[in-house]
Symmetry: C2
Subunit: 341 residues, 2 copies
């Protein structure tokens, strides 16, 4: 603590050779464990404050220090409780509204972040996690913590080649499995094939049959929902021309759930793709114990409502404005979302 002219102070006798990594542990304990200030930690360790700040950053990076939020944090909100009560959900997590008008990409980022928190309690070793696809699911993958669940499995829930490359079903499963250190089980089949006969033949393949059995054994499923607005396009131009969305919308479909088109009551709507899709059956999805739906934004509201009405989700992750729309309230004109119940 007292420095005279001596350049080398040697304040607390530090065996010079070996203690490279120890300083980080000391610092983490003194700061987080004993709640000292960085200044005091620096004095105690005989290094500069800046070094202490660096040590602490390193300790967090290494996971020596973890900050844990109550898992049901955002389900405790009045909005979340209202949603859960209205649609019979186990829980609904509601992200706060942004101060500026929401950019869809940033909305997806927050929903992914929140979704990662929501599913965290189920990420135990040995768990089987069914994963759909989409940009929101991709954000969830990025927000997931790094774990080492060697006996856990990540299972692709629908056939491949849906969505853009970056957020395709395989990309989502691979990324999530990689984060979790889990085994990745992919569907080695396309999402849509050209004929019912080929579809039936594929479904008879032993490998696919095994995969469907795995799907029915998932402990938890994670998926988004797609809307069927006028501007909806799919990237798979072979089987999904823009007209498909229009056709299904005309046929009464309110949204797309893991490749299946559903109406406002949640019933599957027949259409041009019927019998040619390879993905989990909606009835099998509904039978899983935990089904987390991540979606938000004005365009998706009706699709989400249809999903919830159909009972396909046990947990919803959405944003505050969408939550208000789902509850039939008028979304607030401006910010300042203070509501007193």
């Amino acid at each position: 603590m007292e420095h005279s002219g001596k350049p080398i102070a040697e304040p607390t006798s530090q065996p010079p050779a070996e203690t490279g990594g120890d300083a980080i542990l000391w610092a983490a304990w003194l700061y987080y464990g004993e709640a000292l200030t960085q200044n005091d930690v620096a004095a105690s360790l005989g290094v500069s404050r800046a070094s202490v700040a660096n040590y602490l950053a390193e300790a967090r990076r290494r996971g020596l220090v973890q900050i844990h939020l109550a898992p049901d944090l955002l389900s405790r909100l009045s909005l979340g409780r209202a949603l859960a009560a209205r649609f019979g959900l186990q829980a609904a997590a509601v992200a706060p509204p942004a101060d500026t008008s929401e950019d869809p990409a940033s909305l997806r980022r927050r929903l992914g972040l929140l979704g990662a928190q929501v599913i965290a309690p189920w990420l135990s070793d040995g768990a089987t996690l069914g994963v759909a696809w989409g940009r929101t699911v991709l954000e969830l993958a990025h927000a997931l913590p790094t774990r080492a669940l060697a006996r856990a499995e990540v299972v692709q829930i629908s056939g491949s080649s849906l969505g853009e490359d970056a957020s395709s079903p395989e990309a989502c499963t691979v990324l999530i499995a990689n984060r979790l250190g889990a085994r990745c089980r992919n569907f080695h089949a396309p999402a849509v094939v050209s004929s019912r006969g080929l579809c039936a033949a594929l479904l008879d393949e032993p490998a696919l049959a095994r995969h469907f059995a795995r799907l029915r054994g998932c402990d938890i499923a994670v998926f988004g929902v797609g809307e069927l607005g006028p501007g909806t396009v799919w990237s798979d131009t072979d089987f999904l021309p823009a007209s498909v969305a229009h056709d299904y919308r005309e046929a009464g479909s309110a949204g797309v759930l893991i490749g299946r088109f559903i109406d406002a009551k949640g019933r599957e709507v027949p259409g041009p793709l019927s019998g040619r899709q390879i993905a989990i059956a909606l009835a099998d999805l509904a039978a899983l114990p935990v089904r987390v739906c991540l979606a938000g934004g004005p365009a998706k509201t009706e699709a989400i409502r249809a999903t919830l009405t159909g009972g396909y989700a046990s947990h919803l992750v959405t944003d505050a404005e969408t939550a208000r729309r789902l509850l039939g309230e008028t979304p607030p004109e401006e910010s300042h979302p203070k509501e007193t119940p």
Copy 2:
């Protein structure tokens, strides 16, 4: 995203009154979950920054946010590993040295803090925790988190009326049980009685026999060690005059462990109190699966060494200087010519 504040969540257990509204939850999520700055959180919520800081403090107080240290943090230190290897311990947690010369009370405080971290992994519901007494154990009690382990038990490990009132065996068990929300099982008997006959008669009491059975079933025991220096005095003036310490020291005792006097090898030393003590037998202690010893400071060094040599501890919680002394290194910048034993 830093946060100082208490290392151990210290919520005032509030049963149902979950009022206060959603603002606190929003703030906790935006700050800890999305890593926004308090400024941005304030803008998003439409309140002042100061309020956000208050919300966050409240969230921490309620335990919505918990800061978790790696449980074996301080056992990973080279000093801790060296101690564990030298004495055959499962682990040794070593508190950092203080910058100023250590005040015994502050040393006890840090050891208690650290000990609370060390035993945290074993504090599950249904666990049985044996608790001795002493000022260090008392500090551990204060550092323990508030839990609600209704089926856990805290068991008094030695008879009563030892130590000062504040750190007596009953005080320690009651406080710890209160913190944990656990059932408190006290020894309704004194630690020392005036005759062997009375002692034997007491031990035959069914209630005491049951208590001893409980002691042998503890999942974890927590205790300190006492030294036998020239200045050692006990507060129980009926049975423990200052001369007792002197007598036992003359007889070769290096320290006191839960009321039992042991020599440098850890063997129990007979003396004036033999056959009149009511406490767990040392052999029963050594048979427990987890035995956490909290002690530090120059005066206690030999007593700790005796305890470790006897195999009575599976885990040690001490400070860096004591650790160095135990390992036979010369303590830093000290030129005490020591009296030869």
